[in-house]
Symmetry: C2
Subunit: 204 residues, 2 copies
């Protein structure tokens, strides 16, 4: 069984949990409270000098950090269903959309949260409020692009559910925590969000 | 032959050029001047609604954006030498280190550049100077972690040159443009930088 260190409420660990649930992989999760400094201990820093969760611990003790590295490990050991796309073109398109959802949407939402939420003041030093605010319109702009794209296909990267949907779902849901209101007129986005939220993996 | 739209001086297109050179793939590059608004035109926006270079154009007309999506396409059509690692563990470790170099180092350097350099004022709106400054110590902190890691192995992700070295090289070189001085006492980082800079691909 895979072992993963995580913080239950954080968005990146949720991406991994959904991914593992879609793969049908059993995982032993261990919860570390990042809000209480659990990632700053010498023990954890030895596992990940970047002091982030999630971290996958392999049987030989190797610690794999970074959400997408963990998901790619899972894709290798359990190829079905493919969540990073199939074929050179399909893999490239899936990577493209996952990146757009990550570097565009999720990062914007996370920056708004980290730089504006009072609970993050002791972890994000310095909090730069203007930067937090600058990320809100970016996130909304990307939602509009997504809405236009989702008029033409069921999922973010194409005809099949993929890692790009997982990233997008986690980012959209995290908007609530980051206090960014989702516009009500994005009907295709709404349809997609209801659809992916109704998958059993969304509760993972 | 692959066709790629890029901006010659920007860091992400350089990552792609180095990757393609390492693969020995011939590419027709077309230079678009992002500083002069070439990525904001309706024609380019149709190719990439996120208005970024590089963009790979496939024979069937499909436009693949995002540096890592383009590199993964190249890895699929030309697997040797493997630049994303080999085996589940090797691929995961390579992805982990490439992500750390991207989301940690390259993003910090790029944010410092975008939010502090006068030439970027018309593209990064609003420029948030405090955020630009906050990224400089982050970049330096990551260089220290790299220096410690590079005491134990020749390349960023392990025994072999990989995409993580490409990302790190481009990020370190871009520090000059972003006006972040590289500390002189990081000897392992220096050794690595000389080594990867001497590869023919570094000039691509």
């Amino acid at each position: 069984m895979l072992k993963i260190l995580e913080t239950r409420t954080a968005p990146n660990p949720r991406r991994v949990r959904i991914f593992m649930a879609e793969k049908g992989l059993e995982v032993a999760y261990e919860d570390l409270d990042l809000m209480k400094g659990a990632l700053k201990t010498p023990e954890f820093t030895q596992l990940n000098p970047f002091q982030r969760v999630p971290v996958l611990i392999l049987k030989d003790g190797t610690a794999i950090s970074e959400t997408m590295a963990i998901c790619r490990y899972a894709e290798e050991v359990q190829p079905a269903p493919p969540l990073f796309g199939s074929g050179a073109r399909g893999k490239a398109l899936t990577e493209m959309w996952n990146r757009r959802m990550e570097m565009g949407l999720l990062l914007s939402v996370a920056q708004a949260f980290r730089h504006l939420h009072p609970a993050m003041a002791h972890l994000e030093v310095p909090q730069v409020k203007d930067w937090g605010e600058a990320n809100k319109p970016r996130a909304l702009e990307i939602l509009s692009i997504m809405d236009a794209e989702l008029a033409t296909r069921p999922y973010i990267a194409g005809q099949d559910f993929s890692v790009a949907d997982i990233t997008a779902l986690v980012a959209v849901d995290f908007m609530k925590v980051a206090r960014i209101r989702r516009p009500e007129d994005l009907k295709n986005l709404d349809r997609w969000h209801k659809d992916v939220s109704s998958r059993p993996s969304a509760k993972a």
